[in-house]
Each structure stands twice: as structure tokens, then as C-alpha cells.
């Protein structure tokens, strides 16, 4: 099995204000992936309006790359090969909402086992 990161690209995060319906669709999809046991980790991000970027010694408001689509969230899935990974990632609802996903093999990673208070 190989781990693939799925980066979600959209106009903005579904966690922005007034996008509750959109968010619900994504939550449901995340649950399906969890139930199918294909998801390793998943993170939804707050609205891009809350992003801050650092380039060189300059700190600026907004996403790192100024583009029509920004990263709205990402998750890691496990699949036997790219075709299987593309099938899982291709079911992401963002694709029906005018956005898209990027699928990249994971080279390595770390998640702290338990949260600290």
C-alpha cells in the first residue's frame, strides 16, 4: 500500500462563513472514507481570509500563492496504486463544486499520537 496526500483546491475553504451546506457534503464524504478504512489522516482548513504567509523576511496577509483556487484542506489516503488512489480522490465533492484535487505520493510524515492539554 502507498500513501497519497489529496490536496483540495477550491475558491475558498468550506469552513468559511455561510457555506454550511457545502461543508456538510464534505463532512459526509470524509465519514465515508473513514468507514471504508481508506483514510489515514484528514485536515480541513479555516477560510483563506485567515491565512498569513512568510516569504523571506516579509510577513503578508493571505495565501502563499495568489491564485483563483487555494488549498482548502488535505487528507492522506492509503491505496495499492495510483489508479486506486485516483478513484478515491475522484469522489471528492469539491470536483462537482467547481474545484479540484491534487494527488501526490507521501514520502514520509508524522502525527503526534495523542493531543497534549
Amino acid at each position: 500500500m502507498t500513501q497519497y496526500a489529496v490536496l483540495i483546491y477550491a475558491g475558498d475553504s468550506a469552513h468559511r462563513e455561510g457555506a454550511e451546506a457545502e461543508q456538510e457534503v464534505h463532512d459526509r464524504h470524509a465519514e465515508e472514507l473513514r468507514d471504508a478504512d481508506s483514510m489515514v489522516a484528514a485536515f480541513a482548513l479555516e477560510s483563506v481570509a485567515s491565512a498569513t504567509s512568510i516569504r523571506g523576511d516579509a510577513v503578508t496577509d493571505g495565501p502563499f500563492v495568489d491564485a483563483k483556487e487555494v488549498i482548502a484542506g488535505f487528507y492522506v489516503i492509503e491505496a495499492p496504486d495510483l489508479d486506486a488512489a485516483l478513484r478515491i480522490a475522484g469522489a471528492n465533492p469539491v470536483i462537482q463544486q467547481g474545484g479540484g484535487v491534487e494527488v501526490r505520493p507521501v514520502a514520509g510524515g508524522f502525527i503526534r499520537p495523542t493531543a497534549r492539554e
Binding site: T2, P80, D81, L82, D83, V103, R104, P105
Partner: protein
């Protein structure tokens, strides 16, 4: 042979090495011990055994090898007597084609990998065929192989749900290779014979591997008919000849007959089948004057419904001019110009210029010819346009 070996190694470079070693072993052993009953089978078995050895050794060396052998496949590989390989190899070749034409690879990489791995051209030959320097091609191939390994692009025929879409991609690659050979985008000679041969060869192989696929059969028929006119497309000085000037007795009538047979048995009406049917209409007319333009126009209408491409709409205007007159065709051209999807496409002003010339509107024709000339970089096509 390479296809059978890569299935064991899941690593193209390693597989290529193993095949070379099998050849070396043959050079060593055959002169003294005699050539085995099935030389290809012997080489394949030797290459695969070598691959299994290497993969096993590496597995011991490294705790975690990224390109592991799938266990059941390793068992197949070491099983004695897989030697003759006659019935497993076609399947392997199909897997290789689908891997090389995977949509996760860029189109240039798909073309290069197909020529290198499916057709067996050397890196230098691929570089010359696709008009890039050898180091550039070597880097392109390395990058593509690396992506196949890192992203785990699978070495198999896609599942039924994906097959139609993926097959379209494979057909597109073969058609593109052929088209690149047919009207080389730049350079002095109009055609590059090596690409034409490889294109026809690939279509033929695919048609053998996937019998009953209408569009595969259609593509093979299309390439055969188009290629049948190869010898007559340019004169002895390399100048482009129009269809009505070509010597029909020089056409490859065996190829045209083969295409005719392929299409006769084919009930489906997909893009390639229809394109082939149109090309066959041109090729089977005994003289240019006897071309059945009404039939061709009807086929174009059908094609336009199956594949609404502006290039098809442009080609349709040529038949329309013969059936309904030059002025009607010019109206259709004007519509295409307004639509704008063909902006910068050299054949639009070229077709328009020819129609204007036939309508006796010489001044406008000259403008269109100059416009076409400015858009083409193939020397033979430039000379044709300048002479008009």
C-alpha cells in the same frame, strides 16, 4: 520480453538491464551449447529469473523496498516452463501500452515512453523521431519512469469502469504519433517515415490484442488508408501534391483493401470508424472526379455529431463545396471564423484561400494564402502555399 520482465521488477530501468543481461548470456551460451527451441522464450525466462534474483537480493538488503514484487506475480515468475511465453506475452504488452499512455503522465512523456518501451526504439531514435536532443529525451524518459515508480502508476489493463476513457487516451497517443509523422510540424521533409511505420504497427498490435473494439479497428483502418497514399503525397522534388494530382496507381491498394475489410465488419460509429470511412471514400474512388462527395458529406455530418470538433467542421466544408457549391462552403468558413476556436490554425486560411480562388475572388484568396503561409513552419507546405 521487457513487458514480461517489468512485471517482476516493477522498475523499468532494472527490467531493461535484466533483458540486456539475458541477451549477453545468450551470446555466451548459445554458440557452444546450441540455440534453444524457443529463443524468445528462453530469453524471456532468463530475463525474468534474473529480475527475480535481483529483486530478492534487494529485498534482503533493504528492509523496505519501494518497488516490491506482488507476491502472486513472483510465483508466476519463478514457475518453471513459463519459457515459451506465447500466450502470456500479448497480455503483458497490453499492460505496457496502458502504463505508457497513463493520463497521469504528460503527453510528451506518453509519446516518448511508448516509442521507447512498446516499440523498442533506442533513446537516440526516440529523440530524433520527436525532434528533441538526445540528452533532453533521456531526461524526459528518466523523469517519466521516476513518476511511474514513485506515484505507482499501475502496470495493468484498467478496470472495466475506466477502460473506455483510458483506451481513448491510448488511441490518441497512437494517432498523434502517426500524425506527427504524416505532417511533421517543422523541418524540411513533409513526412517522417519512422513515425508512420510505428503508428501503423502500434494500431495493428492493439487491434490484435483487443479484438472487437470498434474504435481500435477504426484507428487501424484510418492509418492504413492514410498511409496508403504515402508515396504520392509529394513529387520527386518533395513538393506537396493535391489529391487530384496524385497518381492513384501508386497507392498501396492492399492497405486500402485491408481497411475496407476492417470497416465492413464494423457496426460501431465512433470517431475513428467514421474518420476511416471518410478517408476510405476518398481512397476508393477510381478517379478524383468520381469521388462520392454526397456520401462523404453525410459521413462528415455523422462524425460532427459523434465528435464535435472545429477541425472536423473545417474539413467538412471541403465536401460541402463539392456538393452545395463554393459560396455555401465560404459561408460555413465565415461561421467558423466568427466562432474563433480555430484562430491560429493554419489550415483554416489555407482551405479558405482555395475556395476563394475557385470562386474567382483572387485578391481575397491572395490575402488568405499569405495568412496561411505565416502560420506554417513545414517547408514542403510553405512551398506549396507560396506557389499558389
Amino acid at each position: 520480453m521487457l513487458a514480461a520482465t517489468v512485471r517482476v521488477t516493477r522498475d523499468l530501468d532494472l527490467a531493461e538491464e535484466c533483458v540486456q543481461e539475458a541477451y549477453a548470456a545468450a551470446l555466451d551460451g548459445w554458440p557452444g551449447g546450441g540455440v534453444p527451441g524457443s529463443p524468445v522464450g528462453w530469453l524471456t525466462t532468463t530475463a525474468r529469473r534474473r529480475a527475480v534474483d535481483v529483486v530478492r537480493r534487494e529485498r534482503v538488503l533493504r528492509a523496505k523496498l519501494p518497488l516490491l514484487v506482488v507476491p502472486e506475480e513472483a510465483e508466476v515468475a519463478v514457475e518453471p516452463g513459463v519459457g515459451d511465453g506465447a500466450d502470456c506475452v500479448p497480455d503483458e504488452r497490453l499492460r505496457l501500452i496502458f502504463m505508457c499512455c497513463h493520463p497521469a503522465l504528460g503527453q510528451e512523456a506518453q509519446l516518448a515512453l511508448t516509442l521507447r518501451l512498446v516499440c523498442g526504439l533506442s533513446t537516440g531514435e526516440v529523440a530524433r523521431a520527436l525532434l528533441v536532443s538526445e540528452p533532453t529525451m533521456a531526461a524526459r524518459l528518466t523523469r517519466a519512469k521516476k513518476k511511474i515508480a514513485t506515484a505507482r502508476i499501475p502496470y495493468r489493463v484498467p478496470e472495466a469502469a475506466d477502460l473506455a476513457g483510458r483506451l481513448r487516451g491510448v488511441l490518441g497517443v497512437i494517432h498523434l504519433l502517426f500524425t506527427a509523422g504524416h505532417a511533421a510540424p517543422s523541418g524540411a521533409s513533409l513526412m517522417r517515415a519512422d513515425l508512420l511505420d510505428q503508428g501503423v504497427h502500434l494500431a495493428r498490435v492493439l487491434n490484435e490484442l483487443m479484438p472487437g473494439e470498434g474504435e481500435v479497428r477504426g484507428l487501424l483502418a484510418l492509418l492504413l488508408v492514410t498511409d496508403a497514399r504515402r508515396r504520392t503525397r509529394v513529387d520527386s522534388q518533395g513538393r506537396l501534391l493535391r489529391l487530384d494530382q496524385q497518381d492513384r496507381s501508386q497507392w498501396d491498394h492492399a492497405a486500402i483493401a485491408e481497411a475496407h475489410e476492417l470497416l465492413n465488419e464494423e457496426p460501431s460509429r465512433g470517431r475513428y470508424v467514421l474518420q476511416a470511412a471518410i478517408a476510405a471514400q476518398y481512397a476508393e474512388a477510381p478517379t478524383f472526379a468520381e469521388t462520392d462527395w454526397a456520401r462523404i458529406l453525410a459521413l462528415y455530418d455523422e462524425l460532427l455529431a459523434a465528435w464535435p470538433s472545429p477541425v472536423v467542421a473545417l474539413n467538412r466544408t471541403v465536401a460541402l463545396a463539392e456538393v452545395a457549391g463554393v459560396e455555401r462552403a465560404l459561408l460555413a468558413i465565415a461561421e467558423l471564423e466568427t466562432e474563433g476556436r480555430l484562430a491560429g490554425y493554419q489550415y483554416l486560411p489555407a482551405v479558405k484561400a482555395d475556395l476563394l480562388r475557385r470562386a474567382g475572388r483572387d485578391a481575397e484568396a491572395a490575402v488568405a494564402y499569405r495568412e496561411a503561409l505565416a502560420l506554417t513552419s513545414n517547408e514542403a507546405e510553405r512551398e506549396f502555399l507560396s506557389s499558389r
